[in-house]
Symmetry: C2
Subunit: 230 residues, 2 copies
Amino acid sequence: MSARAIPEATVQRLPVYLRILVDMAGRSTTTISSEALAASAGVNSAKVRKDLSFLGSYGTRGVGYDVDCLIHQISRALGLTHDWSTAIVGLGNLGQALAHYGGFAQRGFRIAALLDVDRDLVGQRMAGLEVLHVDEIERVVKEEEIAIGILAVPERSAQEVADRMVAAGIGSILNFAPTLLSVPDHVSLRKVDLSIELQVLSFYEQRRQAEATLGERGQHGERGEQPEPT
Amino acid sequence: MSARAIPEATVQRLPVYLRILVDMAGRSTTTISSEALAASAGVNSAKVRKDLSFLGSYGTRGVGYDVDCLIHQISRALGLTHDWSTAIVGLGNLGQALAHYGGFAQRGFRIAALLDVDRDLVGQRMAGLEVLHVDEIERVVKEEEIAIGILAVPERSAQEVADRMVAAGIGSILNFAPTLLSVPDHVSLRKVDLSIELQVLSFYEQRRQAEATLGERGQHGERGEQPEPT
C-alpha cells in the first residue's frame, strides 16, 4: 500500500470513519457493515467500500468489517501508529484548552512545546510544560523534532506566527484562528472552523421548528419520530 | 425548496462549501467553477453539482457559480440567515475560548447564556455575560429561547450535563467533550473532535517524511513540489 495512492477526499474521510469505529469499539461492537459505517459518516456505502479498499480492506461478505482491524488499518494509513510532536503557539483560553485536550494524546499527537509572545505567560507551567517565548521557536522545533504547529493566536497575529512557524522549519500547520493564512506550497495547512458542526445542527433545528409550526396548524407533527435521511 | 429533501450527507458538506466560498469572497473572487469548489472541499465535481442542485443552484455553463449568491443560498438552506441562541455549559478554558470565539457570531450563533456548576465562576462576567449556575438552565432556556446547547465540560460530567440540557428542553447539543453521549431520538447531537484535522495533517506529514527518506537514498526527492491529488 502506498500512501501516495490514497485520494485526498478519502484522506479527509478516514478520520471520520476512525472516530465512528473507536466509538463502536467503546460500545463493544466487533464488526460493522459498510452500510452502518456509511450512515454514521454521512456518505453512501459504495464510497465507504471504495475508500477502505485503498487500505487493502475489503471486509467479509454478510459479516462486514472487523472493527479493531479497521481501526488499526486506518491509524496506520494516517500515520497515527507513531507519535507526532506538536507545538502550540498562543496560550490564551483556546491554546490552554488545546494544551489540556485529551483527544490529541489519544490519537498520538504529543504536545512537546508551548510558546507565546506574552511575557506574563512565558515561564508559567501548563499541562506539564513550561511556556517558552516564541523567539525560541527555531531552537525548539529542531530539538523536539516538531512536525506540526498548532496556531491558536488571535486573528491579527495569525499570519505573522504562521510565517515564523514556516521559517522555523514546521511543515504542517493547524490553524484555529478564524482567518485566512498564506503559506508556501511545501507547507500543509488545515483550518479548524469550530462552527461547522453548529451549522449542521442549525439545519436540523430549522427543520424541527418548521415541523412544529406545521403541527400547530393542525397537520401531523412529527417531533420525536422524524426519520433521519441517509 | 424543502429542507426535508436535502440528504444528510449533503447537509454535512454544505458548511464546508460555505467556508470555502466565504474565503473566496474575502479574496474578491466573484465566480467559482464546480471543479474548483470540489478540489477545495475534497469531493468530486459531480457531487458538488448534485449537492448544489438541492438548493436550486445550477451555475452558468462556462462561468460557474456566483459566489455571493451561493453563500446566500447555502446560508438560507442551513438556517443561518436568522440568529440562533446558544448556551455554553462549562466555562473552563475551552468554554471560555468558545465564549470569545469570533467564528460563532460570524455565522449567526448568538451566545445568550453561560452556565457552570463551579461557585467560583458563577457571578463572573465573561464575553459580556454573567455566568449562571447550571441549576438555572431550565429558566434560561425558556427566557432566552435557547435552541442549541454547547457542552464544554470535562468527560466525567458530560452525560449528566447533556441530560440536564435535554430536560430543560434543548433540542440540539454540540458536544466538545471527547466522550460518547446518549440522548433521546428527538434530540440532535453533534460531536466536535478537535483532532480530526490533525489526523489529515499527519497523513501528509508521513508522506513528506517518506519522500524525504527516499530522497536521501539517492532517488528524486519531491519536497516542496509535491502535487496535491484531487
